[in-house]
């Protein structure tokens, strides 16, 4: 049975603190920074488990690209603090807390009750199987998960095209008065 090391506990506490910062912070830029910290420290947890490749991918793609994209968008949008308060908003927040607590309790009960996953009967045996060897993962991607791999590529292509189409400024309709459109364009 492999017990938790001090490093993992430290990383776990830091991950939870950063996640609380994401959820509770009033300032969106602080939330984005905390999200970056959470993703980075989760990469540290993967590395502490021996999954070096997954940890590197997590740090490169999640903390390096997605979190930076969030920070970029927060800075682009120049958001003000939200003044308008919907009357039932506090109730929705309380219900969200209850829902999160119930989800956590039910999964905790169903997964961790009993003798499962206490490490006494690890299916991997005493010899740690390197489940994250890049060679094994790439062989899986080219044999068993071929369809998923191709579909992910198609999804990325669609997402790029969608982002380009969504990011284009809306042109005035050409079906109307053409002279009016041209004057508008000159004014712009």
């Amino acid at each position: 049975m492999i017990t938790v090391s001090l490093l993992q506990i430290l990383l776990g506490i830091l991950v939870l603190t950063s996640a609380l910062g994401v959820v509770l912070s009033r300032n969106p830029i602080v939330s984005a920074m905390m999200l970056m910290s959470t993703l980075f420290l989760t990469g540290g947890l993967y590395i502490s488990l021996g999954l070096y490749f997954i940890g590197a991918v997590q740090i490169l793609i999640y903390a390096g690209a997605i979190a930076v994209l969030f920070i970029f968008i927060v800075m682009l949008l120049d958001m003000k603090t939200f003044k308008m308060v919907i009357p039932g908003r506090k109730i929705i927040g309380a219900l969200g807390l209850v829902a999160a607590a119930m989800i956590f309790a039910s999964f905790y009960q169903s997964i961790l009750s009993g003798q499962h996953f206490n490490g006494a009967t690890s299916l991997a045996g005493t010899e740690t199987v390197n489940a994250a060897d890049p060679k094994i993962i790439s062989l899986h991607f080219l044999s068993k998960y071929m369809i998923a791999f191709q579909m992910t590529g198609l999804l990325i292509l669609g997402a790029i095209m969608g982002a380009v189409v969504l990011g284009k400024p809306v042109k005035p309709k050409m079906a109307g008065n053409f002279a009016q459109n041209t004057t508008e364009e000159k004014a712009i």
Binding site: T3, A32, T42, I54, G96, A99, H140, K144
Partner: protein
């Protein structure tokens, strides 16, 4: 604290992933800003990844790692599309507060 040290790594990481997922659910339901809601979505995906990693490591099976790579790519696509939609909404309405998006309310 002593019970924390007695946990196996699998249990520890599953509990951590569950807490991350629950925090994400809470933030997604409770926060008003659209962009923070998206960040909480990423938090939920991160918790799921952590659970998947610990299951994969417990079984000594590389399937979990392959799934995690797919999840990371899907999260990247989702973030790109959702953020460009948010930029579009911001240009149209001047706000990204989820409470202001009530055009479909009957």
């Amino acid at each position: 604290m002593s019970t924390l040290f007695m946990m196996s790594t699998t249990q520890f990481h599953i509990v951590l992933g569950l807490i991350l997922f629950s925090l994400g659910v809470f933030g997604f339901l409770a926060r008003r800003s659209g962009i923070v809601a998206l960040m909480c979505l990423e938090l939920m995906l991160n918790g799921i990844n952590l659970c998947l990693v610990s299951f994969s490591q417990y079984h000594g099976n590389p399937d979990g790692s392959a799934m995690i790579l797919c999840i990371v790519l899907v999260a990247a696509a989702e973030a790109a599309i959702a953020l460009s939609l948010l930029v579009k909404i911001f240009r149209k309405l001047g706000t990204v507060s989820l409470d202001d998006l009530r055009a479909l309310k009957g």
